[in-house]
Symmetry: C2
Subunit: 410 residues, 2 copies
Amino acid sequence: MIKDNVRMRGFQERASVDALLELVKKHSSVKRYEQIEVVDSPGAILAEDIISPVNIPGFDRSAMDGFALKGKETFGADSYNPLSLKVIGEVTPGKQFDEEVRKGEAVRIMTGAPVPKGADAVLMAEYAQQNDDIVDVMQAVAPGKNVGKIGEDIRQGEVIFKKDRKIRAQDAAVMSSVGLQSVKVIARPTVDILITGNEILKPGEKPTGVKIVDSNSVLLRNMIKRDGGVVLNIHYLPDQRELIKNALLESTADIICTSGGASVGVEDFAASLVSELGELLVHGISMRPASPTGFGLIGGKKVFLLPGNPVSAMTAYDFFVRTAIQISAGNNPDWPYRKKTVKLSTKITSQIGRVDYVRVKLENNEASLLSSSGASILSSTSRADGFLITREESEGMAAGESVEIWLYDD
Amino acid sequence: MIKDNVRMRGFQERASVDALLELVKKHSSVKRYEQIEVVDSPGAILAEDIISPVNIPGFDRSAMDGFALKGKETFGADSYNPLSLKVIGEVTPGKQFDEEVRKGEAVRIMTGAPVPKGADAVLMAEYAQQNDDIVDVMQAVAPGKNVGKIGEDIRQGEVIFKKDRKIRAQDAAVMSSVGLQSVKVIARPTVDILITGNEILKPGEKPTGVKIVDSNSVLLRNMIKRDGGVVLNIHYLPDQRELIKNALLESTADIICTSGGASVGVEDFAASLVSELGELLVHGISMRPASPTGFGLIGGKKVFLLPGNPVSAMTAYDFFVRTAIQISAGNNPDWPYRKKTVKLSTKITSQIGRVDYVRVKLENNEASLLSSSGASILSSTSRADGFLITREESEGMAAGESVEIWLYDD
């Protein structure tokens, strides 16, 4: 555990990015489950095997518009030598035909309608010529032809989906068709966002004087949604210890992200509060930007201390909070960006022992550093086409080197 | 225009998949616009240039925790030869320091706070030693150091985003920071879903007797959402011409998808209604499954006649409705699946002049046909790993051939 001894003195020791990632993963393995509507379930991960309570179809159904008949009777029939059958009625989807089809008889039938008793095949309308109550059969139809048998799609008692499957749109459709209304899935992790700072105005307000409009909550709410989390509350709080303390204590979310107050300034309360109320596991990491990032636990809640600088907040979110949300939601912690291998047109310097998140511009398939890209320059993440990550053991990359970058747009 | 002459007689003429796609694209080019909250704007396409009404930052701000001072004074200072300055106060973010910093003076300052008048640089706290109201400066600091100048992030009057840009999370954050509350974007197309059929129960109900639970609305609502559309209403209607007619007339959506009633059965009213109320442009296409698909216009509304068979409905949606939604939303009509090149382990037969949507299973990087995969077998789309599309000019593909497949899961 880390004592809160950093204020106005700088960080004594910084955790590596990998060490913090391991810690985040370790504390993200416990999952919550929830029962959700099948119609809204695509994208969620099944928390149970799904067994079909019924056969689909639940009755022999016609796969075509045409005539239900006894297949054997039609053997030898063709357009030169049609077979005449008596049409004793018609059956449409959702209705049952009450009589039995006998030798010499047929029933007009529509796609999806139940095949009447006595019939075992359906002749396509294209190969039939109806005149009043007589139909001429111009093609032989084998028994079973154009009939969907009971259970041919899904059998009663069959495991249709296994636990841990990511539900597709068509899976939800299948579950609806067997009569399921709700389904148990891994719950989407909930997140509270705490934006702190006396200088902060809410999004939608106009910046004035020395007040600035918070942008981190805008960034975070959208990235959390992208990664499968649910934002419960966004609090905008002045730098008052008691207010921040209450918000931390009263949160019912799985994850709390604080923004601002994470560093070593006189009004940076977040770290000391996590120490006081729970366990501050990491404070300060070997990363640029986002070095003041912290991570701790209060009760079962994971608390991420994100720096106030927007580029730092974005970087720390994308490395650590994203990982926590994806794993808690039952997904792989993959980057949500497309990877591309390109040539570097400028050199990039880093420090051994530090991971850098470097925004790059892409032109003619060559990546270059952005000219203005401090941690406070949010617009740099809009001007950039993507980013690259320098490895801990790297001193940087030479111009001309081939590198992997992640693209903000896909 | 097509007359409604297909009932119980089959399609006289089928449009090619490409011809229908061209028609869909042509009628999807007209866009609607809407004003939405900036905080919810990521993913939308800007319908206007965004010009910043302010400078960001709006004041010279400190990039570090430390001491604001006159940089020139510190020249020559180091840890062996520190410079002592008088600390005349402290400034934190959101507050203005009223006095002017003079020669021999410094002000304690936090990251993000406005740099006081008279000061032009900030010394990092790590290189300072404060005792009461005296601070020892142990490093020279050039004027401008650690100061974010007015407008260094964004300049007042600057075009920060151009029309037609797809808004990123960080772009929304940037727009919030300059004080914008709402923004004009291309509206997400709205869709009404009309499920018709006397046999239909609603999702959440249990299938019983010859009644079946609709799965197409479940599939469609989720795919529409995936592709950037907004579902307004889902109607479940029996096969009664007047009810379906009213639903078509009363819809206020950009797009109507009907499911069921698209083919040539006695209760397939959708096509004749589109003819009566507007223009039926295509009915019947050279595709398997989904051959009964139709497309028409009622007023400005695009109407897609989707077959009732779930695999057909899914195929027709994914080819045509998806394209309409993506283009109307300002996006490229790209497949929302990952492409993969694999070897075919079974042969696939098709017909020249017809496009086939073939569900495949993937094992050891080899694709094979699913054994049970009729148009009514919805579960085949869950058992499949993806699909391939045979070209119009192709008679099929040989076992061992290298093919491109689209994966349902990414």
